[in-house]
């Protein structure tokens, strides 16, 4: 069974994540699960993030079993 987790993103412009207040430089891989999908889409449209293609969490061919009781 295919299982796609929360996608993670590659930083394209320097950002400060409100989730941890840390600074991330272009190229960093970040978890944006603290943001609603529409906010992520806006940031992607502004060229601040892109989907980190090739990262295991973004690979729809990953066939991990879903967790139980989670």
């Amino acid at each position: 069974m295919k299982h796609k987790e929360q996608p993670i993103y590659r930083v394209l412009q320097t950002v400060v994540l409100s989730s941890d207040r840390q600074i991330y430089q272009p190229g960093a891989i970040v978890d944006l699960s603290h943001l609603p999908p529409e906010s992520i889409q806006w940031f992607v449209s502004q060229g601040i993030f892109e989907t980190a293609d090739g990262e295991p969490q973004n690979d729809i061919t990953v066939t991990a079993e879903p967790c139980k009781n989670c």
């Binding site: 320097t14 950002v15 207040r21 600074i23």
Partner: protein, 151 residues
């Protein structure tokens, strides 16, 4: 023509980093003076022209001046800055300020997180004839200020 939106400092946010974590000190900071960075330049003149030739070099380091409200007790940010300033050979204090607040979609400006040093500290003074709030001020010398987006 439309007027630009413009904005004030009403929602401003200021943070300090003295180790590895940023700490929001907005409740006691009042001013981050607009820092200016300059680039080394040179000039030369020739006989046939009335104006100069301009040469440009590297960007020079810059100073960021921050003013805050002083309070007693070592929990006050003044003492974090004081501790870094008085450490032998000095220690790092980075400053980050966000004009629209520390919130998603705001812009932030920050001094280097590896090479910012406190090079000046103005202590709170006293004046029996004054009712002014006691303040302090410090100056951070940094090679650069970077813009970031809050997300």
């Amino acid at each position: 023509m439309a007027l630009p939106a413009g904005m004030s400092s009403c929602a401003m946010c200021v943070e300090l980093m003295t180790g590895t974590a940023w700490v929001d000190v907005s409740d006691s900071m009042t001013v981050v003076e607009p820092p200016e960075q300059t680039r080394i330049s040179g000039e030369a003149y020739v006989g046939g022209e009335d104006v100069a030739l301009i040469g440009v070099g590297k960007r020079q380091p810059m100073s960021v001046t921050v003013r805050g409200i002083w309070a007693q007790g070592t929990a006050d940010p003044f003492y974090s800055v004081y501790a870094e300033f008085t450490a032998p050979c000095g220690d790092m204090v980075a400053v980050r300020w966000s004009p629209a607040g520390c919130a998603t979609s705001s812009d932030a400006f920050y001094t280097s997180t590896t090479a910012s040093e406190v090079v000046g500290l103005t202590f709170p003074g006293v004046d029996a004839a004054s009712a002014d709030i006691l303040m302090y001020q410090f100056v951070v010398r940094t090679p650069d200020v970077t813009r970031a987006a809050w997300a």
